[in-house]
């Protein structure tokens, strides 16, 4: 067993959901389930994370966020779709704004169904993901592309990732005058 599986750090993102699965994920991170037994740490930082836990489905608003977080994670990395919405879109799948499950945006390695998904299922899924992580780590060490395990990058109705910057810049320029809020939202003050 490699070291990747002994120290899976995770990041959690809640997409378009009823927040049930979100709460369950937080629940499973409570001391009661003691995920640190497995070396799991909730980092909250994609750059440190190995496992991406997504709850809720993907919509037009958040698809780029999901992709972006995934992109900022370093290989080897795995994605776990937690809850039925994250797997397929669930009850929301026919909504006008919903694109579908997480696999519409990024390749998913483990599907953990449930509405809401139970902590035990989440833990099971994470432990399953850890095995894939190990496998990917091995591939990476051998100089291969770890992304060959699991599904390829899905086709989505949105613009491809590479063109995202151009598109976003164009939007930014177009709406600069009325939408720019300098220093408003994430101004990191020291107070």
């Amino acid at each position: 067993m490699g070291y990747a599986s002994k120290s899976p750090w995770l990041i959690h993102y809640d997409g378009s959901s009823c927040n049930g699965c979100d709460i369950e994920v937080l629940d499973s991170l409570m001391p009661l389930y003691d995920l640190e037994r497995f070396g799991i740490i909730n980092t909250g930082n994609p750059k440190h994370a190995d496992i991406f836990l997504v709850t809720g489905s993907v919509n037009h608003q958040n698809i780029n966020v999901v992709k972006h977080i995934y992109e900022q994670m370093m290989e080897p990395k795995v994605v776990v779709a937690c809850g039925i919405c994250a797997c397929t879109g669930g009850v929301f799948r026919d909504c006008y704004n919903i694109i579908g499950g997480v696999d519409k945006a990024i390749p998913v390695d483990v599907y953990a169904p449930g509405c809401a998904v139970r902590p035990e299922t989440i833990i099971d899924a994470v432990l399953k993901a850890v095995e894939i992580l190990d496998e990917k780590a091995k591939r990476l060490a051998a100089g291969e592309d770890p992304a060959t395990i699991g599904k390829p990058m899905p086709e989505t109705p949105n613009a491809p990732v590479d063109e995202r910057h151009a598109a976003a810049e164009a939007t930014a320029k177009a709406g600069e005058a009325k939408t720019e809020q300098p220093a408003a939202a994430t101004k990191q003050t020291n107070e």
């Binding site: 490699g2 070291y3 990747a4 002994k6 120290s7 750090w9 991170l29 001391p31 003691d34 640190e36 037994r37 497995f38 070396g39 740490i41 909730n42 980092t43 909250g44 930082n45 994609p46 750059k47 440190h48 190995d50 608003q61 780029n64 966020v65 992709k67 972006h68 992109e71 900022q72 370093m74 290989e75 080897p76 780590a137 990476l140 060490a141 995202r164 910057h165 976003a168 810049e169 939007t171 930014a172 709406g175 600069e176 939408t179 720019e180 809020q181 300098p182 220093a183 408003a184 939202a185 994430t186 101004k187 990191q188 020291n190």
Partner: protein, 954 residues
């Protein structure tokens, strides 16, 4: 002798030529030639006299007499210039002071010149090592600044409104007159001549500050001349008193008289000369002239505040240092004014965003330190003062010149606008960073000098000043580190605007940078070959408080840092580039724009941290002016109150020479190897145990003991990617410094150096974090700076306590103690426990980084570090933890093997205590941390150091 004549004459001739030939091409030729000749002459002079020691130069008395006439004439001309300007700009105060000075000068000339040539000094000129150092400073740095001014003034004129008169020839001429006057000051034994040089610098700087003739410039130039005329009048009064006292008007005679029975005559002159020195060195309450002088073109600032004007003030004080041993009133006045100025100006520098104002405050602060060192009057302090002068000159002149050039390139001197300069002006910024590092971190000269200051104040038992030094240094770290952080930010797609920098500017900055590195590398040689003989001759003692092996190690580190900054070493250009983390979708990482909710694009901005509410400039200025003015008045009052026995009774002083019991170079290297092998292992196990114990405290099982090891192994195998090419190199440096620090500690080497190296390691982590320009990492780095500022005073106080208990800075001395240090250092130990929580970044003080789950800063200072870089940070934390715990343990070591068991038990308890606190407290606000860390340091420090250092005097 002929060299001295050349040194004085060449700049004067250049000045005359510059006034005659005014075209730009002619000016370039004259300036470069004159600067080159001055520089070469200065070097030739140094080669001839540097190792010779004190040499006096005889001059026929008739020649001297004529020279004195000339100098008196110059004095009167200077007075006329002042009066003319005072009338023209209707400044009453200047008029009154100018008239008083005119009367004084004429009256004094009447007294001395009427006595005829027979009373002239037979040997009016001299040279000793200190003078030679000053000649080198003025001749090399000063000339380089003159060359720099060519390119700078070209741009300056370009930025002036159209039709503005071109008076650049006048400016250049003034600079050369300045150099000439400085040579007179540092080489004259004749106090009358020295006074004339003194007044020339005053008037020249007055004209240079007022160069632009805007209202502001005129106002500030008058402020300068009024304050400096007070100093000049004090100088003149001192001369007149000396004359009436029947003392020869010679610096050497002055110093000799102090140790004879005639000393009582000097009580007032020494106070007056000190006041003159303090005004010229811009000490509170006279400091405002230096701040005002910042309106002048930057070469003025560089010349006045780094190498000449203010250095004349501290030169006089250092020259008088042996005298202060005799006169307690003057000594206490200079030390206290210097100390208060140092600490308050360091505080005020925090609240400044104008780069030149930061430099100004830092200059005043450092001059305060030099003045205080001179005022102590013992050899160690003089050693510190001389090195402070050298290193302050080179570092500060680089900084002034860089800021000037940057201002012309980016159109601003605001530190906020220097964001990402690392990419826009790559070479210049690296020089600037080197200059900043030179100002405040080990192993660059400034810090070594501060160290010597610490030693000398511990020797004299000056607790108040030790405390001031501890807090001032902490503030110094904060304002420099945050500026450094702004510079270090690497933008990914920046436009390089370096092309317009003039060759003359590059030449000046580059040559001073080379000079700075040479001084750092050559520090052992300068200390042994130049400064020690000077102290031997002047004070009759030759301080050896720093092992040569330590100096060598420092020189190696300086070379290493220079390599990291100035060469492409460690640039991981092959790594995949990733964007900074902005919490959502980042649209443009360079301008930190991201997609916010509702489809808006937002920009995240991040300013430096100025803390105006904690360090308000206005209020601190008032406090400083009142306190320092009070001290000066009290010193004069004391001369009337006490009898001459007390006033010439000498200062309190107990010989406390540090013992050097360090292990030598081989032992030290062995220590580093042992620490590098053991500390990561022990630290890793401790970290694992920490997580295990924490888990049990929370009713969980927790991870495996080796979990931290697994984490690091995983991180090492992750994909290699980074936001920029430099952060990993910085982190590697940090690990190396940390290992060196640990090695020094366990091999029994210098504790103070160990503390400084740990701070240096932290600084490099901070720079690495700033380099990403991520809002989260930046804020984390800011808070890390704050944490350093919070705990630094306590650490310095701890080392002083260590020195008090063991008479040494080497940890090996612990093994010779009859009883453990804790017996006499309980308050300091408790203080250390308090700041240990901050140092280990544990709750409630985990501001910059948290081991646990989330915090609002994502992962604070480590947010932008991935894979291998993060693994290195983890390893560094392990080593740090081990080192810090050893600091705790050292309080319980004495010359008994059992003591190691005791120390181990205490360390284990302390560690458990830290984990307990970590698990049972919530994070506080940073204000709380800063306030209490400083309060604890103040109380523990004052109580314990008073007890330790004052006891021998009772």
């Amino acid at each position: 002798m002929s060299l001295i004549a050349a040194l004085v004459a060449v700049p004067l001739i250049a000045a005359v030529l510059l006034m005659l030939f005014r075209s730009e091409s002619q000016r370039n030729v004259i300036t470069i030639a004159a600067a080159a000749i001055t520089g070469v002459t200065a070097v030739a002079f140094a080669v001839q006299y540097l190792f010779v020691g004190h040499v006096s130069f005889a001059l026929p008395q008739e020649t001297s007499y004529i020279a004195t006439w000339v100098f008196t004439a110059i004095d009167i001309v200077l007075c006329a210039v002042i009066l003319w300007h005072a009338v023209r700009y209707k400044n009453r105060l200047a008029l009154v002071l100018g008239l008083v000075q005119t009367v004084g000068v004429i009256a004094f000339a009447n007294m001395t010149l009427s006595e005829g040539a027979g009373h002239m000094l037979p040997e009016p000129l001299y040279s000793d090592q200190l003078s030679v150092i000053m000649v080198l400073i003025v001749g090399l740095v000063g000339s380089a600044i003159c060359v720099y001014a060519l390119g700078y003034m070209h741009d300056f004129q370009h930025h002036e409104p159209a039709g503005a008169p071109d008076r650049r020839h006048f400016f250049s001429a003034l600079m050369f007159i300045f150099l000439s006057a400085m040579f007179v000051i540092v080489l004259s034994d004749n106090l009358e001549w020295l006074f004339t040089g003194w007044e020339i610098t005053t008037v020249c700087s007055f004209l240079m500050i007022g160069y632009t003739r805007t209202d502001e410039a005129i106002k500030n130039s008058f402020r300068q001349i009024n304050l400096n005329m007070i100093g000049g009048l004090a100088f003149l009064a001192a001369l007149i008193m000396l004359h009436f006292g029947g003392i020869e008007l010679s610096l050497a005679a002055f110093i000799e008289t102090a140790s004879t029975t005639q000393a009582a005559v000097l009580i007032f002159p020494i106070l007056l000369l000190s006041v003159a020195g303090l005004t010229k060195a811009a000490q509170m309450p006279f400091h405002s002239w230096l701040l005002g002088a910042m309106v002048a073109p930057t070469p003025t600032s560089a010349l006045l505040h780094s190498s000449t004007m203010v250095k004349a003030g501290v030169f006089l004080l250092v020259k008088l240092a042996p005298v202060y041993m005799v006169f307690p009133a003057a000594s206490i006045m200079v030390v206290t004014v210097g100390g208060v100025t140092f600490v308050l100006c360091s505080f005020m520098a925090i609240s400044q965003s104008n780069a030149k104002r930061v430099l100004a405050y830092s200059t005043i602060a450092n001059l305060g330190l030099i003045a205080a060192c001179a005022g102590v009057g013992i050899a160690e302090a003089a050693w510190a003062a001389v090195f402070l002068i050298i290193f302050h000159t080179v570092s500060k002149s680089i900084l002034f010149l860089c800021v000037g050039t940057v201002e012309h390139r980016i159109g601003s001197r605001n530190i906020e606008d220097m964001d990402g300069l690392f990419s826009r002006l790559p070479r210049l910024t690296r020089f600037m960073m080197l200059g900043i590092l030179g100002m405040f971190v080990a192993p660059f000269g400034m810090l070594i000098s501060k160290w010597a200051t610490l030693v000398s104040f511990a020797e004299t038992g000056n607790v108040v000043f030790l405390i001031l030094l501890a807090f001032g240094s902490a503030a110094t770290f904060f304002f420099w580190a945050k500026w450094l952080g702004k510079l270090a930010g690497v933008a990914q797609k920046a436009e390089n605007v370096e092309a317009g920098v003039h060759r003359s500017e590059w030449f000046a900055i580059g040559s001073i940078a080379v000079l700075m590195l040479a001084c750092c590398l050559g520090l052992p040689a300068i200390s042994l070959g130049v400064v020690s003989p000077y102290l031997e001759a002047t004070f009759g003692s030759n301080p050896q408080f720093l092992g040569v092996d330590n100096m060598l190690i420092m020189a190696v580190i300086v070379a290493f840092i220079a390599i990291v900054f100035l060469t492409p070493w460690g640039r991981a250009s092959k790594k995949r580039r990733v964007e900074v983390y902005l919490g959502g979708t980042c649209t443009d990482p360079d301008s930190r724009r991201f997609h916010g909710s509702m489809g808006r694009t937002m920009t995240s901005t991040k300013r430096n941290w100025y803390m105006q509410d904690i360090f308000p400039e206005h209020a601190l200025t008032n406090v400083g002016v009142i306190v320092c003015l009070g001290i000066i008045l009290m010193a004069f009052a004391a001369c009337f109150i006490f009898n001459t026995d007390v006033l010439t009774g000498g200062t309190f002083y107990v010989e406390r020479l540090p013992r050097l019991v360090g292990p030598g170079l081989p032992g030290l290297l062995l220590g580093v190897v042992v620490f590098a092998v053991c500390a990561p292992v022990i630290g890793c196990l401790l970290d694992g145990l920490d997580r295990k114990v924490s888990a049990h405290m929370q009713g969980r099982v927790g991870p495996k003991l080796l979990q931290p090891y697994y984490d690091v192994r995983k991180l090492l195998a992750k994909e290699q990617a980074s936001v920029n090419a430099v952060d990993e190199a910085y982190i590697t440096c940090a690990i190396i410094f940390c290992l060196l620090a640990g090695g020094m500690f366990i091999s029994g080497s210098n504790l103070l150096m160990c503390v400084f190296l740990v701070t240096l390691a932290t600084l490099f982590v901070i720079i690495a974090s700033y380099s990403a320009r991520s809002p989260f990492a930046d804020t984390g780095a800011d808070r890390e700076c704050l944490q350093v500022m919070s705990y630094e005073p306590m650490l310095l106080i701890m080392t002083v306590g260590f020195f008090g208990a063991t008479q040494s800075f080497d940890t090996a001395s612990l093994l010779t103690l009859e009883q453990p240090m804790i017996i006499s250092l309980i308050p300091i130990f408790l203080g250390l426990l308090f700041i240990l929580t901050i140092k280990l970044r544990k709750s409630p003080f985990d501001y910059s980084y948290s081991h646990h789950a989330h915090q609002e800063l994502v992962k604070g200072i480590t947010t932008e570090m991935e894979g291998r870089t993060l693994a290195k940070v983890e390893i560094m934390h392990w080593c740090e933890t081990v080192l810090f715990l050893m600091w705790v343990g050292m309080f319980f070591i004495w010359d008994n093997p059992i003591s190691f068991v005791v120390a181990l038990a205490v360390v284990a308890l302390t560690w458990f205590f830290e984990v307990f606190i970590d698990n049972n407290s919530a994070r506080t606000k940073w204000q709380f941390g800063l306030k209490y860390a400083w309060l604890v340091a103040l109380v523990a420090g004052v109580v314990n150091l008073f007890y330790m250092l004052i006891t021998p005097f009772i």
